[in-house]
Symmetry: C2
Subunit: 450 residues, 2 copies
């Protein structure tokens, strides 16, 4: 590591030099040789980035329109680092209408929100407030492959995967509370387990936890004084039928608080307020990862007070907030946009489902922008390993020039799983990628297994 | 502190709840009762925020114009988290022309820059890379009052002020290298001193370090393997005559490297590359604290590698970078803008100098947007304390309803100093503030000293 001048850096600075996921360098390499139908038909196709390229045109056009309502010069000056009043109100309004979407609970309050430069920044700040260096966070697995780095890079917080797959016979029936209990606090005595971080709809599986699962998990966690982070960044990207209905943790916790107060359990109600947090943002549902907008919903006064201070390091520019508040308040546009986006996601997923051997799709996604599929049949039959998985990943990378996310990075509980982000590219590019992958599978069959 | 739910938070989360400076709550209180000539003539006037309100109109108009060149939808998607290629090139170009402005050294290279959401984020990330929790950073004092919080809030890094005032008889002749040496590493054995962080032009004094002072400090620090951060965020806000000419640390270090290589000292040349870093941004020179743009210049490969990772938590939105690159490349506009800004700063400072008793202005500022003046004559004559300073600050706050920065927050080496940010308000408001302060001084004279 002497190339990187580690001698003169801090231990944590050296630690942060670690790449955020195993395929990072391969991933970056694709940028300089990216596929283009006309100019570079043999280039790499990157399906490892959870980015929605399908509907970004609509959103960005509306954003550019909003810029015509010129921001005042006050947006060039300091404002509340947790987000401007207008933007927090607009985000609260959107979340009330489309994320929570539950008339039986109070509207999301702007003062419960903190807006920062992306959901990654939001999660980092929240975990910072709760965890000391070396503390641990449970994450139901398979999980979003960047979570471990988000918690480790600057915070030194450890992630402990807990398998949320009920059994290999019933893929797709996740089993959150049992999973969390299975790995209980006692199991890792060396770590202080402080939180459980889950994504719902889930990344990489594209499925939705049931209301019962979520409620049981929250009740269990709050009783254990474990903080719960529900990352709901795909809440408006539900495109498929047949899964559970999405219920925001905001709905669940508000109901738990009401029930607790009804039965006179003020302490449990307060713990629900203090221990349950929701993360949202514009990177996924709005196809706008480049806008760098994340949102935290929490009723924990101590966390708000700490964020009064540290939000300074990751605030959103005033002119962005000015324009985005206009977009977020445009219900006619947004309702149409989300409908169109769901339609495009559905169509794009159909392109995958039609072209990929149905046997590998054990979990049918209903949300998000990815499919998590099982390529075990291309691994050695007897005791396949993660090295075998890596060889298969590399075969697809070098032969098909397609980048997928290997299951190992998602803490999959067995080798052979891969995540394909099908919305990252236009349909014709996706078709091309699948053709290449199929051809690469043929060369495995023709020779021997990877 | 039970109101703030500290029980369920981490030690560092609780620590971050501390306010960033002593007058924070008083400062925030002014927002809800802010002075307005027409609607609230008795409201608070906040002169404790280093924000340039004088020329923001010109810059923001140009920015709004730049938005008419619509950004492509790729700006809504992921890009290099250290800054887009176009924006880094544009920032490098501006820094070459107007910050370094030295034909004898190479142009600033875009690849040596990392752009993040504000100079605070840049400094935090840089200190993170170099310092472990509990390590120490020397800061020549008096210093920018938010530096200690910037280093402590999330990093747990300690700041050690070193007085840079040569003697009370020669205010304004700062003496950087001697100051740094006076408090040498041995002096604080409990802390690992890793860096020296200085602002040049200096905040709060508004003065410029001489080339000799800077060079001697850098040579000394690099020889000690202390990292140097030169915060040059006011480099283009030099409005007065009579001080030293500003020389960027980039000029100095490039010359040191060349000289070292000429005499065959490759190790010292490499250490210069690894240990000297420059911070810049758009909050001050561009009057645009709300744009949240900070820049790090460093040639340290290890720091760049760590920032490849952690820049993700504080990236600048794509559409902002698109528009700001256009502004930064518009030399005709920028040359006129900086000239006009210097003119307005000069005029505004003249308003202060004409109205405030000359005897209190012991240090005549030539740069920045503040004057650091000595109100000791309003403190008790015998052994005045920082409590006396606070009483005077509070007298001005309650009687004049004007917020100043007390010297104690700047680690002044004696009580009685105050920073007034004279560009934070329009001229008529500044006049009003000074009238009120003068009247408040009268009530001290009429009764007794504070």
């Amino acid at each position: 590591m002497s190339d990187f001048g580690t001698e003169e850096l801090s231990a944590r600075g050296v630690c942060a030099q670690a790449r955020p996921f195993s395929y990072f360098d391969a991933f970056v390499k694709t940028f300089s040789d990216a596929y283009d139908r006309e100019s570079n038909p043999d280039g790499y196709i990157n399906l490892a980035v959870a980015q929605n390229n399908l509907t970004v045109d609509l959103l960005h056009d509306r954003f550019n329109d909003a810029l015509k309502e010129l921001s005042p010069s006050t947006t060039a000056q300091y404002d509340d680092m947790k987000g401007s009043h207008a933007m927090r109100c607009a985000m609260a309004r959107h979340m009330t209408r489309r994320v929570v979407a539950d008339d039986s609970v109070e509207a999301v309050r702007a003062e419960d929100l903190v807006l920062s430069s992306g959901a990654g920044a939001v999660i980092e700040n929240l975990v910072f407030c709760v965890c000391n260096e070396g503390d641990g966070v449970f994450i139901p697995s398979p999980y979003y492959p960047a979570f471990p780095n988000d918690l480790r890079a600057r915070l030194g917080v450890q992630t402990v995967p807990v398998s949320s797959t009920r059994s290999s016979a019933s893929r797709g029936q996740v089993c959150l509370p049992q999973a969390a209990r299975r790995r209980n606090i006692e199991e890792r005595k060396d770590l202080h387990m402080k939180m459980i971080l889950l994504s719902n709809p889930s990344n990489p599986q594209g499925i939705i936890y049931s209301r019962e699962d979520m409620e049981e998990t929250i009740v269990w966690a709050v009783s254990q004084k474990l903080h719960v982070i529900s990352d709901e960044i795909y809440a408006c990207s539900i495109f498929g039928e047949g899964g559970h209905a999405f219920v925001s943790a905001i709905s669940i916790v508000e109901k738990l608080i009401k029930d607790a107060l009804d039965r006179g359990d003020a302490e449990f109600a307060q713990n629900c307020r203090d221990y349950v947090h929701v993360v949202y943002g514009m990177s996924k549902d709005f196809c706008a990862s480049g806008y760098r907008v994340g949102a935290l919903w929490t009723q924990n006064a101590g966390i708000h007070r700490a964020l009064d201070n540290v939000s300074y390091f990751c605030a959103i520019p005033g002119p962005m907030q000015h324009a985005l508040a206009i977009v977020l308040n445009d219900d006619e546009f947004l309702d149409g946009f989300f409908e169109e986006n769901r339609k495009r996601l559905r169509k794009q997923y159909a392109t995958v489902a039609e072209r990929i051997d149905a046997s590998v799709i054990e979990i049918v996604p209903t949300s998000g922008m990815f499919v998590y599929f099982n390529l075990r049949k291309y691994l050695p039959e007897i005791q396949p390993t993660y090295e075998d998985e890596h060889r298969l990943w590399n075969h697809i990378y070098t032969e098909a020039k397609v980048v997928l996310t290997p299951g190992k990075d998602c803490a999959s509980d067995e080798p052979g799983w891969f995540r394909m982000c099908f919305a990252a590219v236009p349909e014709h590019t996706l078709r091309q990628a699948i053709e290449r992958i199929r051809a690469a599978f043929e060369t495995i069959r023709d020779s021997s297994r990877c």
